[in-house]
Symmetry: C2
Subunit: 334 residues, 2 copies
């Protein structure tokens, strides 16, 4: 393997000069530079990245931590991250926690061991104290979920409360008064925000908040299915359901169909996320489309600033999302 000293020897310069040609070309005389570049090409010299990383104590690699890449929502964010990362020569390492605390801690260790220059979290479900500590010492950005203590680390997300409010309001405007909610796990800030938005919409329109109309799911298809079965068993079942994810909405629709209840004729069901399959689903889901790609891009770009040592304020950056009105809410406007 050709190394820098080989290039230096053949070009009759020092390794320092070769290095400068590569790092700060403007500090090298044109003539020398040309000579060195020629030799580099001739010997097909490639710098040893491992040596470079070691010397610089950086890896040009970032870690993305998420529950599982199987969830298409995360894949979409990752594509945005990857897009931005590639532009500036960063590599992206995958960290599936599989909801396992132990795995998550192992991943965080990569940061401590300087195996990666920074970390993007696609969910905040880690030990809170640990996270706060970590984010003080290393470059970390949070996407899509929030942290209890705001302003601890930069966060990219959408305004879950507002969007949840909007989609609930949409149902109200369609005439629904008995609206249920299938929430995500309430230890997630995101889930609570979506719940709040739903509740606020009801209150603002003078509708009662029925305790029985709140079902707690976990964003999975199955939990949507089960929750819907419970809702339909109520003495006075809802005529509309706001699910906190498309997967749960799909589960709910399937449950309704199973019981012979038609969507949207008998009951309106809306979701959240706008995953790939939502428009193919029958009925096509009315939902809130998140700008996943943009979120990923933005997160990566903030992370890079952090890594570069720029002063970052730990603001929450809210990106714009879009209400997608399709069939599952009834009154398809298409």
């Amino acid at each position: 393997m050709t190394k820098m000293s080989d290039v230096a020897k053949l070009a009759q310069v020092s390794t320092a000069t070769v290095s400068r040609v590569l790092q700060k070309p403007e500090t090298v005389k044109e003539e020398t530079k040309q000579k060195v570049l020629e030799v580099i090409k001739k010997l097909d010299y490639q710098p040893n990245i491992l040596a470079r990383n070691f010397r610089r104590l950086e890896t040009k690699t970032i870690l993305v931590v998420m529950p599982s890449i199987l969830n298409n929502v995360f894949s979409q964010i990752i594509v945005g991250i990857d897009y931005e990362a590639t532009k500036s020569g960063y590599q992206v390492i995958l960290g599936n926690t599989m909801q396992d605390e132990q795995r998550a801690l192992g991943l965080i260790n990569h940061l401590k061991q300087k195996q990666v220059d920074g970390m993007i979290l696609l969910t905040a479900r880690l030990d809170m104290n640990e996270l706060v500590k970590i984010s003080k010492e290393y470059s970390v950005v949070l996407v899509s979920d929030f942290l209890e203590n705001k302003n601890v680390l930069p966060t990219i997300a959408i305004d879950n409360m507002k969007e949840s409010y909007r989609i609930t309001e949409h149902l109200i405007k369609l005439g629904h008064t008995k609206i249920a909610h299938i929430s995500g796990p309430l230890d997630m800030s995101m889930s609570r925000d979506r719940l709040s938005g739903y509740q606020k919409a009801l209150m603002d329109h003078n509708l009662p908040i029925e305790y029985g109309y709140l079902e707690k799911g976990d964003y999975s298809f199955q939990s949507g299915y089960d929750s819907m079965l419970s809702l339909m068993d109520l003495k006075c079942p809802p005529t509309a359901v706001v699910a906190a994810s498309d997967r749960m909405a799909m589960g709910a629709v399937k449950a309704a169909k199973k019981k012979g209840v038609q969507v949207p004729n008998h009951i309106a069901i809306v979701g959240f996320d706008d995953i790939e399959f939502s428009k193919l689903f029958e009925p096509a889901l009315t939902t809130v489309a998140q700008p996943f790609f943009e979120m990923g891009k933005k997160a990566m770009s903030i992370l890079q600033q952090q890594i570069a040592g720029e002063q970052i304020n730990n603001d929450i950056i809210l990106l714009k999302s879009e209400l997608k009105i399709r069939e599952s809410c009834g009154f398809n406007l298409k």
Copy 2:
């Protein structure tokens, strides 16, 4: 940051001994070992991975190259890879080619620059000569797709021909005689195998192979949709369609519905892959389930053997897949 020499000093030994405690503990006297381990714990010493990588000229990192992580098929394989990789301390780097030759070459460069110890390809759509060359020099494993020149690099896949044969035969046994095929891009070995299986099934059952019954898609929903429209426009349209992917099958179903043709009543449609939504789709897709997780695991384990320098024969390893008979083929056996 504590370094090895700090530990050595405090433990009153040389760095060589500290290193040995970590690398080859059995060569160090019990007493010394204990002393060193104590100091390591006391100082919370973590070896500098960058220095180690540099010295060893390895990264404990592997690269997964695929068209796009958005495709759930790839995510599933990756989970298998990641599972196996994590077990032995490997990291997984994502390489989305986005179907862009340039990006693909950039990724391969990571191998050449020793930024990764090995590479797993989730598709063979790269420059063939380059690939053959690369695979001679570096550790590379191919998953799911095949290479023209067999036995160039280890390959993990399913028997596409056989499975395509089986699912086609299933339609024949249901009484269909006019069966069309929507293939993948025919520059992929995988696509050609699925086509061959379909053709062989027809021939073995003395059915004619109509040229008009072959539509070329690209595995996408849209191409399935478009292909189906063409098929329905034929003078004598097929009564069954074998699509080479579930996405295309879904596209085909949607196209059929759009034209008022019922599935499976008027026409049977089957797919390939068994992606997450295939069972939620209406009608639920009859399809071939691939053991993605296992494929990923196996690929990673072979790759590790290669990296470790073991002699690998470039066999094709075929894993077992399963015919999932659901609604879209009619005669639901459930």
